[in-house]
């Protein structure tokens, strides 16, 4: 247990070990630790960002779904409205058409009636003439008016 030159040897050995540690051991390991720390921090930040983005996307999706629903209900209500309109329109069309058909039928009937009346008139005239001629013929000359009478008969 004497103080001797060992103390110098120990100082040198210690200094060498410290220098070695300072140069070849500490920096690479520390650098790796720092890098890993940074990596983990980045990873955590990315995860956080991802979660945030997902939240946003969910929100956006909800919004889109909401809008779509609104649009769909709007379309449905428009279609209903349009349907009602079409029904109403076709109802009124049908009414107008019916009236038109009715009117034309009436007109035709009237026309027909008129024509029949006219015909009837002429026939009545003919018949009256025939009747009159028959009455006249018997008194006048049956034989002379046979032809005329035959014609009349055939016409009736």
């Amino acid at each position: 247990m004497n103080i001797n030159a060992t103390i110098i040897g120990q100082i040198i050995a210690f200094a060498v070990f410290v220098a070695f540690c300072m140069k070849y051991v500490w920096p690479p390991i520390m650098q790796a630790l720092e890098e890993r720390k940074k990596k983990i921090a980045d990873g955590l930040a990315a995860a956080e960002r991802g979660r945030h983005e997902q939240e946003l996307a969910e929100k956006r999706a909800q919004q889109v779904i909401h809008e779509a629903k609104e649009q769909a209900s709007e379309i449905v209500s428009q279609a209903q409205k349009r349907g009602n309109e079409i029904v109403d329109e076709s109802k009124s069309n049908a009414r107008v058409e019916g009236e038109r058909i009715l009117n034309s039928a009436k007109a035709e009937i009237e026309q027909e009636a008129n024509r029949a009346r006219d015909e009837l008139k002429t026939q009545v005239g003919g018949i009256a003439l025939a009747g009159a001629s028959k009455i006249l013929g018997r008194e006048i000359d049956e034989k002379a008016h046979t032809d005329l009478l035959d014609e009349l008969v055939s016409r009736i």
Binding site: M1, I3, N4, I7, F14, Y24, V25, M30, A32, K39
Partner: protein
């Protein structure tokens, strides 16, 4: 323990370093003279008389071996360090380095100093490894060295000394403390400037009218730092080693005492695990704190 040596000789034998220096002979009782040859001291008295220019080979060998082991381990980790998921030895090294880094960050505020953290790592692991040698049963390695020396060189094994715990040699602990002291002085001059450092030593704590008192007080304070640093570690490890040796002396005193000694040794070893770690930690933290003080400017 050989039967022909006494307990006191056994203890003395265990407390003696393997010293290499100028051989001495006892020309008359208490008076030693150099023989002119160089070699290992054959007795504690010869080692003591070798003077300053002798070297404790066991201390040097063990400390350099352990330091190299530590550097080899950390260097091998540093070479293949990955930023991905750490495995095996990298995990272990990172655990230590993280711990050191946290401790240094906690007690050192000197900004970007590239030296303090690696210094703290070296101190903690190296001192821990050197202290750890204390847990090897006291006779194992000395006996191996003694018997092999006797077999190879034909010397009397009783004159071969080997202390395997470098931190029980004050040369090792004071050597480290002196290196720390040199760093303290270097940073004091660098950060505070010569004037700043000198004024810190002379103008506190009582102001400029008590300059001599201040100087004495501050110088003692300054010098006590490395001494307390080195002697604290030495004292703790020396005392622990001494207890192990005392327990070991009981093994020769019959079966009952031997078993009792075995229990004692296990108990003390378990307790000593705490001490060796704590002392390594204290040495590291105090070094960091001293260097932090060297970095702080007083106003």
């Amino acid at each position: 323990m050989a039967s022909e040596i006494t307990t006191s000789e056994y203890i003395k034998h265990h407390l003696q370093n393997l010293t290499f220096g100028q051989k001495q002979t006892e020309i008359e009782p208490g008076v030693w003279a150099p023989t002119g040859e160089w070699g290992f001291a054959m007795s504690p008295a010869e080692a003591a008389n070798m003077g300053f220019w002798s070297i404790n080979v066991d201390t040097m060998l063990m400390s350099i071996l352990l330091g190299a082991l530590m550097m080899w381990f950390f260097r091998s980790v540093a070479k293949k360090v990955s930023t991905g998921v750490p495995t095996g030895s990298q995990n272990f090294a990172e655990m230590i380095i993280d711990f050191i880094d946290d401790t240094v960050r906690g007690s050192f505020s000197g900004g970007k100093n590239k030296l303090v953290a690696p210094l703290a790592l070296t101190i903690f692991v190296w001192v821990f490894l050197m202290n750890l040698m204390d847990l090897i049963p006291v006779d194992v390695i000395p006996q191996i060295v003694m018997q092999s020396a006797a077999a190879i060189f034909g010397v009397d094994p009783h004159h071969v000394y080997f202390k395997i715990v470098p931190t029980t040699d004050p040369n090792a602990t004071l050597g480290m403390a002196i290196f720390v002291f040199m760093l303290m002085l270097y940073y004091s001059f660098k950060i505070k400037g010569t004037g700043g450092f000198i004024s810190e030593l002379t103008l506190q704590p009582f102001g400029k009218w008590a300059l001599p008192i201040n100087t004495v007080l501050e110088t003692v304070t300054l010098l006590s730092k490395p001494f307390s640093l080195g002697l604290r570690l030495f004292g703790n490890m020396y005392a622990g080693e001494m207890v192990f040796i005392l327990i070991a002396t009981m093994y020769g005193a019959g079966l009952a005492m031997g078993s009792f000694a075995g229990l004692l040794q296990i108990g003390w070893a378990i307790f000593h695990i705490l001490i060796i770690t704590l002392q390594a930690f204290i040495f590291m933290v105090l070094t960091t704190v001293y260097l932090d003080m060297a970095h702080q400017e007083h106003h």
